[in-house]
């Protein structure tokens, strides 16, 4: 055939190859996975516990991004190939490994047919990563390390925060890999020794056995230090005051200490586009999938960005232009379960679109109107985990999941106890697509 139409087809193909790929695409892949895990969860009738698992996986899944350059660097370091799949996508961890900032441990213990191995660790003053593998003699629908306790040489607990994911559909004899992300308790130094005790929840049943791994920390390896930049800079965005106290750069992450003025009329949820730029205005550090952080108190928090510790620019600037925020008196959503309607809600952006009553639980689906371009790029939880009934009894959400559809917009489904007699229910907003905006740049160094 090789003539006119084939020529044109080749041309069309070139055009096809130039169709730009939106940056937000990964969020849609993530949303598809979340929708599917939601589906599996319902299929298995393990509603409550599986949601907790899904929530954990949420955090691990979104941080993964393929970087061929990084993968090739790591392949040149003998023994580290297996790390690629676990840390790919985290700039801080990638550069840590590329700079040989990793200690090989390789200690394992087998009990009841489950072998747990600590393969490697990465540690700095903020954070400890334990890269592990699990091999089992039986198949499991799900297995997750539980009751994790980590102590130092003096037997002191060092765990401030801990995140680890579940492994699903584990096949006998095949090794699965994962990581535990441990944030140290305040004031904990890099330990000399680590003692790890844990158990497993396999097929959602707690195992009574305890696995124990003890090893020394190679502090020479982790001698890279932190860099602290005091800022004490207060900025005002649409009348709301926020103070950047200091920025600390560790090998594994960057911590930004920020305070919100108690007198602010709005609750500030999250920065849409917080970045750190170098002297050429290039992005030196940023968060691709929403800012992570820890709350110090109601008006103070630490925000974390992926680190770029091993690269040292001349100057650094912190920059943002948009923050999600809502009036403090709008933070409550009141649901009448009997009439299946909302008694109180923030602005016009949120509506109750579906109520499904089952025996013990009620699934509430909310539709949230998102009009800002940032929202196509982000997923966040609209509701706090806790809620109250009419008599002030506190409960925890049975679960929540979110997805996006072009017809209905952003949907979030939560499940609450079927407490009809105690209706209405009081839900709390934890994040919302309303914003305060102003481009702000602060010099770090």
């Amino acid at each position: 055939m090789g003539n006119k139409e084939e020529e044109q087809l080749t041309e069309a193909k070139n055009k096809f190859a130039e169709i730009p790929i939106p940056e937000t695409i990964d969020n849609y892949i993530y949303a598809g996975i979340q929708k599917a895990t939601n589906y599996r969860r319902k299929g298995r009738r393990t509603f409550y516990s599986a949601i907790a698992v899904a929530a954990l996986l949420f955090f691990s899944v979104i941080s993964i991004r393929i970087s061929p350059v990084f993968a090739s660097i790591v392949r040149q370091i003998p023994g580290f190939e297996r790390l690629v799949s676990v840390i790919q996508g985290d700039k801080g961890l990638e550069s840590a490994v590329a700079n040989d900032y990793v200690q090989v441990v390789g200690k394992s213990q087998t009990k009841q047919g489950i072998t747990f191995t600590v393969d490697e660790i990465i540690v700095d003053e903020q954070r400890l990563f334990i890269f592990y593998s699990i091999t089992t003699e039986e198949n499991y629908d799900s297995i997750i390390a539980s009751k994790v306790e980590i102590t130092n040489q003096d037997g002191e607990d060092i765990v401030g925060t801990l995140a680890n994911g579940a492994h699903i559909d584990v096949v006998a004899g095949e090794t699965v890999k994962g990581k535990m992300d441990v944030g140290f308790l305040d004031g904990v130094d890099i330990p000399d020794e680590l003692n790890l005790n844990l158990s497993f929840q396999a097929n959602e049943i707690d195992n009574k056995e305890t696995w124990n791994i003890h090893f020394l920390v190679d502090k020479e390896k982790f001698s890279a230090n932190k860099e602290t930049f005091p800022l004490n800079k207060t900025v005002t965005v649409e009348g709301q005051k926020l103070t950047f106290q200091e920025v600390t750069i560790y090998p594994t992450r960057i911590a930004i200490h920020v305070k919100y003025d108690e007198a602010n009329t709005k609750e500030l949820f999250s920065f849409d586009d917080l970045v750190i730029l170098n002297e050429d205005g290039e992005e030196w550090a940023s968060v691709k999938n929403g800012v992570s952080g820890t709350t110090i108190n109601a008006n103070e928090e630490m925000l974390y960005l992926e680190s770029n510790y091993f690269e040292k620019p001349e100057e650094l600037y912190l920059q943002f232009s948009s923050i999600r925020a809502l009036d403090k008196d709008q933070m409550e959503v009141v649901v009448d379960l009997t009439k299946e309607q909302l008694i109180k809600k923030p602005e016009e952006l949120l509506s109750l679109s579906k109520v499904v009553k089952e025996k013990d639980i009620v699934r509430l689906t909310f539709s949230i109107k998102q009009t800002n371009a940032f929202d196509t790029n982000q997923f966040y939880e609209i509701f706090n985990n806790r809620y109250f009934d009419h008599d002030g009894n506190e409960y925890s959400l049975g679960g929540s999941s979110s997805y996006r559809s072009s017809e209905l917009g952003f949907m979030t489904e939560i499940s609450v106890k079927n407490v009809v007699n105690a209706s209405p229910l009081y839900l709390e907003i934890s994040d919302f697509p309303s914003r305060i905006e102003q481009k702000t740049t602060i010099k770090i160094k």
Binding site: M1, N3, K4, E5, E6, Q8, L9, T10, E11, A12, K13, K15, F16, A17, I19, I21, P22, T24, I25, D26, Y28, I29, Y30, A31, G32, I33, K35, A36, T37, Y39, R40, L57, S60, V61, I64, R65, I66, S85, V86, Q88, S142, G165, H167, I168, D169, V170, V171, E174, V176, T376, Y403, R404, S405, S406
Partner: protein, 174 residues
């Protein structure tokens, strides 16, 4: 074992990170197929979400790692076809008309893309797979679950029809 094969194995065991990476590796290809059919970013992104969902549910059905990529493309095409049918229901128009109308807004000249869209959906698929996805006849046969002979016949038919459309292109402005 290459990377896709390794990731596929892990994903089939339920490793969500591996699954995410698999989709990441194929996302550009999938997005472009979606865009070629749906013609706008929002719908194409939604297609990505839906195809991820369908692939996740059915990942265990993939037996041959070397056909994983074609398998994903197949899901995307099915989705796009469903989407066409849905649009047709909503608008009462043939999807090709719908897409052509869109093409005309942007480009008065009948383009090869517009010509492709006038083809029978089966023939369109063959063209997209062969020329946009660079698949071999064998791969296309696998995707479409037809003998290679049939695929060859379709391909020839499609090219003949395309030539005809391009020669008579003017008619499509009417």
């Amino acid at each position: 074992m290459d990377m896709v094969e390794q990731l596929l194995k892990e994903a089939q065991k339920g490793d969500q990170e591996a699954f995410f990476q698999l989709l990441t590796v194929h996302k550009e290809q999938l997005y472009r197929v979606a865009y070629a059919y749906l013609k706008n970013e929002a719908d194409s992104l939604e297609a990505i979400q839906e195809v991820t969902y369908r692939a996740y549910k059915n990942i265990k059905k993939v037996k041959e790692p070397k056909y994983f990529s074609t398998w994903l493309t197949r899901i995307m095409m099915n989705y796009c076809n469903d989407e066409w049918k849905r649009r047709k229901r909503l608008s009462g128009k043939e999807p090709t008309e719908l897409l052509l109308a869109h093409v005309k807004e942007n480009d008065a000249r009948l383009s090869i893309e517009a010509a492709i869209q006038t083809l029978d959906p089966k023939l369109q698929e063959v063209i997209v797979l062969k020329y946009f996805q660079d698949m071999t006849i064998e791969q296309i046969a696998y995707v479409l679950k037809r003998p290679s002979g049939t695929v060859k016949t379709w391909l020839n038919k499609a090219l003949r029809m395309l030539r005809k459309q391009l020669e008579e292109g003017g008619e499509f402005h009417g």
